[in-house]
Symmetry: C2
Subunit: 256 residues, 2 copies
DNA sequence: CAGTGGTCTAGACCACCAA
DNA sequence: TGGTGGTCTAGACCACTGC
């Protein structure tokens, strides 16, 4: 910008933005819009800081601070000398970004989670599922039930609910056959990027239908992990309820 | 610094720092040293950015970036118009910084955790405890066992192990009688600030001695939360093993 | 080598807070 | 009112990457 009025909103390229907030926040918002509009696909590079600075008519430092925040939220990844890239669940250095279950014996290793899809069908949202996914009760949803095995042993029994409209046409074959994390499949096949998630964790006793699937006796303690995943703009896009065996594995968390 | 050699280490005030890293990282290290040396106590303000810039002979922007990182790690808290303050577990806006158990029914509320100390004694480190706390087997440790009750119901049974030398003289009366979080007591009485922690979470079945203390039948599922807390410099200072009831409460976690 | 992100500076001004 | 953190700029140089 030419005139020294850094805090005024109107100086920004896109006049539709009404916010009165720091310039870098507005820039962040604009980049975010391009991100969710799909202007740059997951794994691709976004324009360089200089380009963005020119596009938005602000200094490089301001763009930099905007991207800093996006990087802190794991929406983009910076690579020195190369550029800034849209985050993706594929080719993530940590194979499973949202899975915090690790073997008791040190390193997460490769965890070549074998997937077995038990069920994948269109159904209607229960009241509980509807509330979580911000749908109406009875709206179409896709439900998937599967078992993940580590080192040949069934370890996680998972139920997944997805909004039926967005995930129209998801098949058991896709869920079973794809490479890499399931969230990578969602990116490629449905253009849905899970950006953050909240988990509610409880200890529960295995009940009979599930216990058998995990090769356990009824009553055995299991970790119940209920995960609600969000895309951009805090839109919930997936509800997951996992039952984790924690003999030999544990859920690892870092606090600060 | 006068000459434009920003990346060289020797230009920094304290010549003892050998690192070859960005200037702001070195500054961060120096502030960190003052922090752990107790130059500023928890809750107190650290010098202003301008003062620190003058002390270290760098620009305000460089100090700023150093403090940014410290703030991101929750070691200090910035308050616009007032200053930057050393973090403390007392007067934390979230009463319990490391406790992620919340009631199923929405708001964390006040959670007036009633504490009942069952045991507080000096003993010797088992192999397992010694390994976690980086002591030798048989070294003196203080062990505390207590029950936390929420809304009058015993909910958490906790065993705590602390290095005996640092926590010499910790009494059951202190553990029971202090105001606010236990970590605030540790700051005040022993000058130990817990800065980050790692947790390993498992589902276990309640065994007999513990089940009774939590008013449960043996075999009931419990969340086992093993927490290793660190002070500055990644020195482990506390091992905690909690058994959480998760009927009515859950462990809440955010992923990104 | 050119292009990218990363660091550092110096100076201006803003927003907030307390006396 | 003066001091604090917060924002923004413009320009210089460094470190890494790939051609």
């Amino acid at each position: 910008m030419a005139a020294p009025t850094p805090t005024s909103a109107e100086t920004v390229a896109d006049p539709a933005t009404p916010a009165f907030s720091p310039l870098y926040q507005q820039i962040k918002g604009l980049i975010l819009q391009s991100l969710q509009a799909g202007e740059w696909k997951p794994g691709e590079a976004i324009p360089s800081e200089m380009e963005l600075a020119a596009r938005f008519r602000v200094s490089q430092g301001t763009v930099r601070k905007a991207i800093d925040e996006l990087a802190a939220e794991n929406l983009v990844v910076r690579r020195q000398g190369k550029g800034t890239f849209v985050s993706t669940h594929a080719e993530q250095h940590v194979r499973y970004r949202f899975l915090k279950l690790v073997p008791d014996s040190g390193a997460p290793e490769d965890l070549p989670a074998e997937r077995k899809v038990l069920e994948c069908r269109r159904t209607r949202a229960s009241a509980e599922v509807a509330r979580a996914l911000q749908l109406r009760t009875g709206d179409p949803v896709v439900q998937v039930r599967r078992i993940l095995s580590f080192a040949g042993r069934p370890t996680i029994l998972e139920d997944i609910w997805l909004p039926g409209n967005t995930f129209k046409g998801l098949t058991a074959e896709q869920m079973a056959g794809h490479q890499g994390p399931t969230y990578a499949l969602f990116e490629l096949a449905f253009g849905v990027r899970m950006v953050r998630a909240e988990e509610k964790i409880r200890a529960v006793a295995a009940e009979e239908p599930q216990a058998a699937l995990l090769a356990l006796k009824a009553g055995a303690p299991l970790l119940s992990v209920e995960r609600l995943s969000y895309t951009y703009n805090d839109v919930p896009m997936e509800l997951r309820r996992g039952l984790y065996r924690t003999d030999g594995y544990h859920y690892r968390n870092e606090l600060s």
